[in-house]
Every structure is written in structure tokens, then in C-alpha cells.
């Protein structure tokens, strides 16, 4: 279903204090290298499941729109391959000693796709645009915390906050939009939604509704022209069809399902033309328990359910081994991940024991636990359209029945699942997933103030100590210090088990062999797309200039 991505809204604050000069030099080097090699041409054909709704990054929220428009715009900052924050439109930045003010120096050689120069006015306009009540954006929350925005000179802006706000720097990875084209216009109805103008490495070329969107290389890109002449996004709503188009050579890159990855990639048809890349995806799957339901009040119950959940079997069986068990909300291998927490290896015995301690026993011999005349049974819900989640539900149903817990499964259509059940708190337990955003701030999902309709702590987890840790972490700029709070937070979460964390899956990417300089890293695979090239002899598509 609809997946909301925050790829750009993500942080790993390692380089927070160190600035970023050296990184920029690295960027320049690549540009030179690219020019030296001089292999331009060809196109990358990418498939998307849905059509983009519009190409102004800031006011769209679907993944298809963001996937396309990320190449059209730049933010002030971005990630490098190892998820360090580096400058994008910003040459450098300084953070004041009280951590409440950030001053950005902007790059001077940047031009919009229509030739106008990019200046601090555009940044100011973007900020005002984000907090304007008439802007239909979903990403305004971070910008509303800004208390002062100053244009110091055409290439310097200063932004202040009332108190230190750790995710502040990263929030400026938001796409900067052109003032001269949007000022005084209604953005949602502007022609830029259909034919955008940005500063990015690709410029808009053509959009055939429901069929494809084509971008072409920005010859004047400040960081050097990307090698590939075009990016073509083909809209193919069905994953089977996409895979056949891949086999047929009509699509160059796609994310595979675990079964496709394991079972369908050993044919000559595939191996002759494609390489497979795998890396840990920034997401995790979990089973969440409604904390307002008395059934799950006792943490021993939740611990027992986790003990009775065969994480490894789920990974091996459903993901064909393409994932790692999850024990908390952070991605293993990142700075924030705390491996030193309580882990629950699969053990139905321990589960039974905990349940017995909590007073549940099968007193009437029907195979289902009961307590005070009430059976231990509940409904496990998930959304339709994600077969992996349905399979997880079916698997845990069988495993939990072994310890005397009766589970009914309900698979609901996404919109009503969210609106009618999640938002109204009408659920017992759910199988769902979160994207792991790069900034570690867990405020939205775990703070007790975020329990309520349309908020993300929908299970209503509430622990005063966790609330305090989250608040502290949010206002601490030093990553090492911040990490201490989050380490403790993970320990408590592991003890409380409001979620049974299931796994972090692998991203499984198939990519045509003709592309070179592909180098998967923690940031994913397309982070260095501008460096990809196809040797002259292997180029597939040719375009008239």
C-alpha cells in the first residue's frame, strides 16, 4: 500500500559539529572524475507502482512523487553514503554555542532550471511556504518550531529556535523551491506541479499521465552534469508485471520480493543482464498491542507473546532469510542501535511460564487459556495489500495457539484499517511496520503525549521514564550524549515489550548490469546516481539533444 517515505527527512548527527567542508571537496572530486571519463548518455528506467500526484516535493506525500522529485530539487543539506549530513545547497553551516541558532552559508554558483540564480530569498520563501496555513503540506511540524528566520546577505541565512532542537539541521534537507515562480501563487494549482523547476541534477522533461515521467540531465548542475542522459519512471501498478518487464529488459531497476529474489533470479535470462544488490532496509516489522486493552496490561503477557513468536522462523520462512531479527526501533549497525537489551529467543516454555505467573491457565481443558472465566482470545489485524504481513499473522496465529492463545485474524483495507480501527483505538493487536527515519527522535511514536486520534503512538504506550528520556534526547545536540538517553530508552522498551519487534528486512534490488559505479552503502543504492554511467558500447537508449 501507500508507503510514506522520509528518506530526506532523516538524520544521523555524526557530523553535526564537525561541519562539512571536506565532504564538499569529495563531491567536487567526483564531478571532475565524471568529466574526465566523459561517458554520458543512456537512460535508467525505474518502475513505480503508482503515478506521482505532483512534482513539488514539499506538498506531496506519496512515495511515487518523492521518488521522482528528489532528483529535481535540492535541500540545504543531504546525506552522504554513510549517512553523515553534508552540505547540498549549503556551502557550510555553523551552530551557535547555545545550540539554538544555525547559520547556513549558501553555494553561489547555483541556478534554477530556468536560468535564474538561486539565493537566500528562495530559502526564506521555502520556510514561509512551509508554515503558511494555506500550504497543503504534511511536513510543516518541524518548521513551526523555528522562532526566527533572517536573511543576512544573499548567500547567508540564520535560523533560530526557542530551545535546542536536535532534528533541526536535518529538517533543512527539505526541498528548496523557487520564489520567483511560486510567490503569490497557489502552489497546489501551480503549473510547477506538472512541470517543476528546481535546482537538482535532473530537470523535468515530460509526463504522460499514468504512463511515465521523464527527467533529463541538468547540463548546468552545480555539482557537474550527471552521466545518465535521462531517468524514466514507468508506472506499472502490478509487481508481477514489473518483474516480467524487468526480464524483458524494459525496466532497469526494481525492488524484488523475497521469493523473486531467491527463486526466480537463477535463470540465464536474469543473470546475463542483472546484478543483485542487498542491504538492510530502513524499516522494521512489528506486532503492536493495544495498551488500553486490559488483556495486555501486564507486561508479562506481552513478554510471553514475544517469547512465543518465532522471529527467526518468520525471517527464514517468509523472507527466505533476507532480514535480521529486530529488538528495538533502531536499525542494527547504526550509531543509535543498542544491541545490549533484553532479547527474547523463541521459547514457548518461558511463554507458558510467564502466562501462568500472570494467572492464566487452561482450567476447562479446551486447549485455550482462561482466567476468571474469560478465554485468552483476541483479534490480530493487519492491512490488505501486504502479503508478508498476512503471512506473519497466520504464522503467529499458529504459534500462539500452541501456548493456548486463540487468535482471530482480520485483514482490512488500508484506509478503513487506519481510520476506523487504528485511529479510534478499536483493535487488540496489529501487524504493521515503520520506516526507520534517520533522526533517532522517537517522540512521535513513543511519547505518551502522542496517544490519540491520528497520532502515531496509537497503541498508547505510556511510561514516564521514557517520556523524560525522549524529551531530554530531543533537546540535546551532542550525539554521544543523546545516544545515552536513547540507549536507556531501548532497554526499557525491550523490558516493556509494547511491540513484539519482528525483523528488519533486506532491500533486494535487481539492477541492469550495464550500469557502472554502483556502490550500495548504508544510504541505499541510488545515493550516487549522478556517478552511474554506461560504457559507450553498452548504451541502450540514444536521445537527440
Amino acid at each position: 500500500m501507500k508507503k510514506i517515505v522520509f528518506l530526506l527527512l532523516a538524520v544521523l548527527c555524526v557530523s553535526f559539529l564537525s561541519g562539512c567542508e571536506d565532504k564538499n571537496k569529495e563531491g567536487g572530486k567526483t564531478a571532475e572524475k565524471r568529466k574526465a571519463e566523459g561517458v554520458t548518455g543512456d537512460a535508467l528506467v525505474i518502475s513505480t507502482l503508482g503515478d506521482a500526484s505532483g512534482l513539488i516535493y514539499n506538498i506531496t506525500s506519496d512515495s511515487a512523487s518523492h521518488e521522482v522529485s528528489q532528483y529535481i530539487y535540492n535541500g540545504l543539506v543531504k546525506f552522504d553514503k554513510n549517512l553523515n549530513i553534508i552540505g547540498d545547497l549549503a556551502e557550510s553551516w555553523e551552530i551557535s554555542d547555545d545550540s539554538k541558532t544555525i547559520t547556513f552559508k549558501l553555494k553561489k554558483n547555483v541556478k534554477w532550471h530556468d536560468g535564474e540564480p538561486f539565493t537566500a530569498d528562495d530559502v526564506e520563501f521555502t520556510y514561509k511556504f512551509m508554515i503558511d496555513n494555506s500550504t497543503p503540506t504534511s511536513y510543516d511540524a518541524d518548521f513551526r518550531l523555528v522562532t526566527g528566520f533572517q536573511v543576512i546577505d544573499p548567500y547567508t541565512v540564520r535560523i533560530s529556535y526557542a530551545e535546542p532542537f536536535a532534528p533541526a539541521l536535518l529538517s533543512w534537507s527539505m526541498a528548496v523551491i523557487p520564489k520567483h515562480l511560486l510567490e503569490g501563487k497557489e502552489a497546489a494549482k501551480s503549473s510547477l506541479m506538472r512541470s517543476p523547476v528546481g535546482t537538482g541534477m535532473y530537470r523535468f522533461k515530460e509526463w504522460k499521465s499514468g504512463e511515465s515521467i521523464t527527467l533529463e540531465a541538468n547540463e548546468d548542475y552545480f555539482d557537474g552534469r550527471p552521466n545518465l542522459d535521462r531517468l524514466i519512471f514507468r508506472i506499472i501498478p502490478d509487481l508481477n508485471t514489473t518483474f516480467m518487464e524487468l526480464l524483458n529488459g524494459s525496466v532497469d531497476i526494481m525492488g524484488l520480493t523475497p521469493t523473486q529474489w531467491v527463486k526466480q533470479t537463477d535463470t540465464a535470462l536474469f543473470t546475463n543482464s542483472y546484478d543483485k544488490y542487498t542491504y538492510l532496509a530502513p524499516s522494521y516489522a512489528y506486532i503492536g498491542y493495544n495498551m488500553k486493552n486490559p488483556l495486555f496490561e501486564d507486561k508479562r503477557i506481552r513478554q510471553a507473546l514475544t517469547y512465543a513468536t518465532p522471529k527467526q522462523e518468520i525471517i527464514d520462512g517468509i523472507l527466505f532469510g533476507e532480514g535480521v531479527p529486530a529488538h528495538g526501533p533502531y536499525k542494527p549497525g547504526t550509531l543509535w542501535y543498542n544491541d545490549n537489551v533484553k532479547k527474547y529467543e523463541y521459547s514457548p516454555e518461558k511463554a507458558k511460564q510467564l502466562l501462568a505467573e500472570a494467572g492464566w491457565a487452561d482450567s476447562d481443558g479446551d486447549g485455550i487459556l482462561d482466567k476468571d472465566g474469560k478465554q485468552f482470545s483476541f483479534t490480530l489485524m493487519t492491512n490488505q495489500g501486504n502479503s508478508v504481513r498476512t503471512k506473519i499473522a497466520e504464522t503467529v496465529q499458529q504459534n500462539w495457539s500452541k501456548i493456548g492463545i486463540k487468535v482471530e485474524i482480520r485483514v482490512l483495507e488500508w484506509a478503513s484499517f487506519i481510520n476506523e480501527y487504528i485511529d479510534k483505538g478499536k483493535f487488540d493487536a496489529v501487524v504493521m511496520g515503520w520506516n526507520i527515519v534517520q533522526d533517532p527522535d522517537p517522540y512521535d511514536v513513543w511519547h505518551s503525549s502522542k496517544c490519540g486520534p491520528k497520532m502515531l503512538n496509537f497503541i498508547c504506550y505510556s511510561n514516564p521514564e521514557v517520556d523524560q528520556l525522549i524529551d531530554d534526547g530531543r533537546h540535546t545536540m551532542n550525539p554521544q550524549e543523546r545516544k545515552k538517553y536513547y540507549d536507556r530508552f531501548q532497554e526499557i522498551l525491550a523490558e516493556d515489550q509494547p511491540y513484539t519487534f519482528l525483523y528488519v528486512p533486506n532491500a533486494l534490488v535487481a539492477l541492469s548490469k550495464r550500469f557502472r559505479e554502483v556502490d550500495p552503502a548504508p544510504a541505499g543504492i541510488t545515493y550516487n546516481l549522478e556517478e552511474w554511467y554506461v560504457p559507450a558500447g553498452e548504451q541502450k537508449y540514444r536521445f537527440e539533444k
Binding site: M1, K2, I4, F6, L9, G50, D51, A52, S53, G54, I59, T60, S61, D62, S65, N133, S134, P136, T137, S138, Y139, D140, A141, R144, A188, K189, M193, R194, K208, S209, G210, E211, S212, I232, R234, I235, I236, P237, D238, N240, T241, M244, E245, L247, N248, S250, L269, E413, W414, A415, S416, I418, N419, E420, I422, D423, D444, V445, K454, Y541
Partner: protein, 329 residues
């Protein structure tokens, strides 16, 4: 004739109001609203933004008021704006999508008639023969095959293995550089598989209708009489009988429109064809009420148009209809 058409058109007005009413009721059965959908599971959306969406889409007003507003706009051919973020009007969205769907359905319908009529007529003529039985099984086999399954099998075999046809989509990347003839060939190539599969699935209805209609006619006295008079057998069957048998088949054109349009959801999703069916499915899943409503109404209007054309064609060939001998329906 003109008077007849005018009468038919006037008769459609109450139907039309009924259509809009039912569409409106259906989409408001739905729990959950699009503003929540946009807001759902997005931590970066502040509360005020949510209220903003509600207001923009008038979701705080009573249903009846919204219906009346909608009707008022509709009278000015304005279906309103889509709830999605692309800021397009419903009319723009439908206009983009309609030609493809009409092309697929007209092409499909023409081919269905081209194949189904002879099959039906011949199997009536050779009733109970091996040919008749073979045709019966064949056309029902087409109907009984789950379309998406057949489509996937064909895509794999003819697209991936044989490479005869493009697997999905409507046009090639180089479409814009092709000659006019090349463009037509390109689209024809891309739509070949979906059209053939929909024809296979649609043969049963028309060919069975033609067969039954022909059987009835063959039983009529004048056919027997003509035969008795020693007229050439094939002339009796293929001129006198055929003409009368095919008349009622005309009426079925109108009736088969909704089925074809409905089926386009599956074809368009699986073959990545950006038509009305795909638009409808996506809009339903996104709770884009104005578009859902627009497509339902336009779909029903196409059926009305189909019925009208069929009726006029029927009236043109059979004057009895025009002069009111048609019964109350």
C-alpha cells in the same frame, strides 16, 4: 425519428438523477475520509494542517448539502476537484483516461461481434452437431477463465518467452518520434493482448444470444414455409432468417457496455494501461470521492449512450418500435 430520439432523451433525465443519487449514497457509505488518509501515519503533519484539509474538502458539511452543491456544479459540467494532491479537476482526470478505455472497449466490442455473430449463427444452424458443441465449450471456456490469470500467462509466454508483444503499457518510449502509421502500429501492438483476452472472455454472451435468437427464428413459420417452397436453403437461412435474428442482437450492445467498462479495471491494472478502470480503482483506494463519483456517473452515462444508440439503430431498422408499439418498458 427525431421525435423518437427526443422522447428517449427526455426519458433519461429521471434515470440520470437516480444515477447521481445512487453514486452519492454509495461513496458516502464509506467510513473514513480522505483528509485522514493523507494524515495517516505521517508524523510531520501538524494538527492545524489536518483541519485545513477538512475545510478544503467541505467534509464538515452535511451529506445532503454536499449533494446539492455537487448537483449544482454538475449542471455546469463541473465535477469538482480531485482530492488527490495533483490539483487536477475530476473532468481533467477523466478526459485523460477516457479515450484509452473507449478505444479498448470499442476495439473489443467490434471484434466480439465480428467473431461471436458467425459463431452463434452457425452453431444455431448446425444445432447439436459437433461444431455446435465445440463452439459452446469454447466460448464458455473463454468466459470461465479468470482473466487476470490468463493475462499473466499470456504476458509471460508471448511477452517474455516469445517476445512477440510488449508486456505492458500503452506506448513505447520512442512513440513521439514515430510516424503516424508507426504510432498507430505501436498502440495496436501494445493493446493487442488485452483486447484479445477481453474478446475471448466476451464471446460467450453475444454468441449465445445470437444462437438463441437464430434458433427462435428458424422455428418461425415463414422460414419453414420458405423451405417448403423449395427456396435455396442457404438463401433462406442467411438472408431471411439472419436479418430477423440479428435485430434483437443490436439491443445487446447497450447492455454489454457496463460489463466491458467494469472489466477494464482488471485489464488496465495488469497491463499498466492508464484508463478509466485504473483511475477508478486507485481513486477508490485513496478515497478520492469526487473522482469515484465522476467515474461512476460517466460510466453510467456511457451505458445510457450505448442504450440510446442501440435503440435508435433498432428503431431505424424496425419502424414498429418508433410508433409506440413497444411495451411499457
Amino acid at each position: 425519428m427525431l421525435r423518437y430520439i427526443a422522447k428517449r432523451l427526455a426519458g433519461m433525465i429521471p434515470l440520470f438523477i437516480g444515477i447521481t443519487l445512487i453514486s452519492f449514497v454509495v461513496i458516502h457509505l464509506a467510513p473514513g475520509d480522505p483528509a485522514q488518509f493523507i494524515a495517516s501515519m505521517n508524523p510531520k503533519l501538524s494538527e492545524t494542517a489536518y483541519q485545513k484539509f477538512v475545510k478544503m474538502y467541505e467534509l464538515d458539511k452535511p451529506v445532503l448539502e454536499r449533494y446539492i452543491n455537487w448537483l449544482g456544479k454538475f449542471a455546469r459540467f463541473d465535477f469538482g476537484e480531485s482530492f488527490s494532491q495533483d490539483g487536477k479537476t475530476v473532468m481533467e482526470k477523466i478526459k485523460e483516461r477516457l479515450p484509452v478505455t473507449i478505444w479498448l472497449n470499442v476495439a473489443g466490442m467490434v471484434l466480439i461481434f465480428l467473431f461471436a455473430l458467425p459463431l452463434g449463427v452457425l452453431s444455431a444452424y448446425y444445432k447439436d452437431s459437433l461444431f455446435d458443441k465445440g463452439v459452446t465449450v469454447f466460448v464458455f471456456a473463454g468466459f470461465a477463465m479468470p482473466t487476470f490469470w490468463l493475462a499473466l500467462l499470456c504476458m509471460y509466454y508471448f511477452g517474455v518467452v516469445k517476445g512477440w508483444f510488449p508486456i505492458s503499457g500503452l506506448r513505447s518510449f520512442n512513440y513521439d518520434y514515430l510516424s503516424t502509421f508507426g504510432k498507430i502500429a505501436d498502440i495496436a501492438k501494445h493493446t493487442f493482448m488485452p483486447v484479445v483476452i477481453s474478446v475471448f472472455g466476451g464471446l460467450a454472451g453475444i454468441s449465445r444470444f445470437a444462437r438463441n435468437s437464430m434458433l427462435d427464428v428458424l422455428k418461425e413459420e415463414y422460414v419453414t414455409a420458405a423451405r417448403a417452397r423449395g427456396l435455396n436453403e442457404s438463401r433462406v437461412v442467411f438472408t431471411h432468417a439472419l436479418k430477423n435474428a440479428l435485430l434483437p442482437v443490436v439491443t445487446i450492445i447497450g447492455l454489454s457496455v457496463p460489463g466491458l467498462i467494469g472489466g477494464s479495471v482488471i485489464f488496465e491494472s495488469i497491463f499498466s494501461i492508464p484508463g478509466m478502470g485504473q483511475l477508478f480503482y486507485q481513486s477508490v483506494m485513496m478515497r478520492d470521492y469526487p473522482v469515484v463519483m465522476g467515474v461512476l456517473v460517466i460510466g453510467a452515462m456511457l451505458t445510457l449512450a450505448g442504450n440510446l444508440i442501440a435503440d435508435i439503430a433498432y428503431a431505424a431498422v424496425d419502424p414498429r418500435i418508433r410508433y409506440g408499439s413497444k411495451k411499457s418498458n
